[in-house]
Symmetry: C2
Subunit: 381 residues, 2 copies
């Protein structure tokens, strides 16, 4: 049995003795359903706005078309997440996606793990994923409990026995839309990628099950995807609490598959992205509710929504989600303003930013911040 | 009220007094469920192979991985088409896709129809469609009945009142896979596009409903898509019974949305693709069961699966589907060998092929037929 914590130092993880696995009852979205310190008319209105009778609240980026496009973009994800609602299971968000097809009774003959990993990554792209990495199962990142969303109470969150690997996929969000944050229009980038990732992760998992191996398709449910994406070599942790990737910066969503298929794992090397964040506070400065930290990484916080015993940048989740509720849509200004959203792998700036000359890149980035694109400009294109 | 037959001559349609609307009970897939002259152990085995316990039948292109990928690729389409099975409705195939969201009670303020059409086409691409055209509703192409797939009997197939327009979307199939026809592997190109088109057509229809207009998402159900795709300007009819598009030749699937949103329609101009087919028989020569006609278009045939009263190339559907049943997967050799699959808009050959020098292009195409790609070559890439 592999000890997954052995590679913590390689990726800069500092896990302290205070570490506790996370209970998903405590994530902000779940707390907004039961915790009276979070739940309010505003948060209820936030969730209601994703249903049909979205009440457009003001012009520019928050009109009927903006909400219509956002909600339509979420449709496929909504179909999956709502189909087991009566059983208290919000698939893909507060529980893993149910197997739509069984595990084939006969195991197909496999090649070497390295060849299978190569095939899996290629098929991930075939189904539409933009990134794919593979790492070992690490129980530390798995939620102790998931919420039963019908009864709103914690229930066990165990996977079937014998899972050994996690396939992590990255799904690029549309840059043109992300550049309009904050707006309901920008939320169409979020919705479209959730819909994409639901389809893609379910299809790739079905392929693996068809070969006779277990494969559980997962979106935001079951385990923290951030440490998994980092261990799978897809990126590094950023001050804005997102995984920064060389290809898209923070403008990416992640899905994952838990499997017992024998696979080779990715070897991680330092990319220089987290190092950049230490001296950059563009995201924290731009955050309207001042929810992002300007200082150095710390262990824990007063909030039950913060993971305990991991040294990292942690947001004030209550302030962050409170702003979402006010807007009636998701906010990702911190994604839009990140210098790595605008300039990626392959640019001279990126090479500088991830080298020892990063301060020069920072000096330049502060002076060349692309302005927010107006939603009306996006529509008029 | 527009008379949609007024533009028949523009697109080369010849509809005779013998014309009858088609009853979907008579399509080959439906007949394989009730017509004892079609239904057999082989056709039952064909359908069964799409479920989990696919019995891989022989090597090269028909092994466990080939069937696994094909069936996984169909997953999203399968989820939609199976969800109302108990009600006898195979959504997207033998009945329209049910509205997942209601029509918003308040109609959004619309721009000029030309502007709305431009927006719709842009959003079709945003959701992942490769082509989009718009035309008028034409009741001639609507099925008189659809099959109730639980009771296997004809039931009415009416749309809600007031539909005026059809939005037709094209979805490119993967060339690398199509080039391996015939194989179960190639069927992954079909499955992936059905899954794509299900998601895309449902999302775009939801957008329109969110604006307060009716929008019924449709795949192979409700109406013939071929005449609609041609009238929407996406391509021309080919000898292989497919719509040939300038962008992908016949390597494309189509979905459609019926709506009452005021839209501008596309104006159709001759592309020269059908003209090419008159002197080319590459597809007919390559068809193993000799199901395609080598001669000129004719009105009708002896088969109940042939549309009556339209002068066109018609396949021997029984021979075609019989071959599918034998293979346990869809065959589209006629798509693979079509010269327009390999060479599209923008190539010198295409310009020649669609000009008065088409015979020169034909002479060249017959001498330069790309060979089938072996499935093992695809896997080894």
């Amino acid at each position: 049995m592999i000890d997954p914590s052995a590679s913590d130092a390689d990726v800069g993880f500092e896990v302290t003795p205070e570490f506790e696995r996370f209970n998903q009852m405590n994530d902000m979205f779940t707390r907004a359903m039961w915790d009276d310190t979070v739940k309010s008319a505003a948060t209820d209105g936030f969730f209601a706005s994703y249903r049909m009778e979205a009440a457009p609240r003001r012009g520019e980026g928050f009109g009927p078309r903006d909400f219509a496009l956002r909600n339509a973009a979420w449709l496929v994800s909504d179909i999956i997440s709502n189909r087991s609602a009566d059983d208290g299971l919000r698939e893909g968000f507060q529980g893993a996606i149910k197997n739509d097809t069984p595990v084939a009774p006969i195991k197909a003959e496999l090649g070497a793990p390295a060849d299978e990993s190569r095939d899996i990554k290629r098929l991930a792209r075939f189904f539409g994923a933009d990134l794919c990495g593979i790492t070992h199962i690490d129980p530390r990142w798995h939620y102790t409990h998931r919420p039963d969303t019908a009864q709103m109470k914690p229930v066990p969150n165990a996977l079937p026995d014998g899972m050994t690997h996690v396939i992590v996929m990255g799904h690029e969000m549309d840059k043109g839309l992300v550049d309009t944050y904050p707006s309901a229009l920008a939320g169409a980038a979020t919705g479209r990628e959730y819909s994409h990732e639901a389809a893609i992760v379910m299809q790739l998992a079905a392929y693996i099950r068809n070969l006779g191996y277990q494969a559980i398709a997962s979106m935001n449910d079951t385990a923290l995807v951030v440490p998994y994406a980092i261990k799978a070599g897809l990126g590094e942790y950023g001050r804005n609490q997102m995984v920064l990737t060389p290809q898209f910066g923070p403008r990416v969503r992640f899905s994952k598959i838990f499997t017992d298929m024998p696979l080779d794992v990715d070897v991680v090397r330092e990319l220089g992205l987290t190092k950049y964040c230490h001296n950059c506070t563009i995201c924290a400065e731009a955050c309207p509710p001042k929810a992002l930290p300007k200082g150095e990484p710390k262990v824990g916080s007063d909030s039950p929504s913060t993971l305990k015993g991991v040294k990292k940048w942690s947001a004030n989740c209550e302030a962050c989600f409170g702003y979402w509720a006010k807007l009636k849509t998701d906010c990702a200004i911190c994604m839009r303003v990140c210098p790595f959203n605008h300039r990626n792998q392959g640019t001279v700036w990126y090479r500088l930013a991830t080298s020892k000359f990063r301060k020069l890149a920072q000096w330049w980035a502060v002076r060349h911040k692309p302005a927010r694109v107006k939603p009306s400009t996006w529509w008029a294109r």
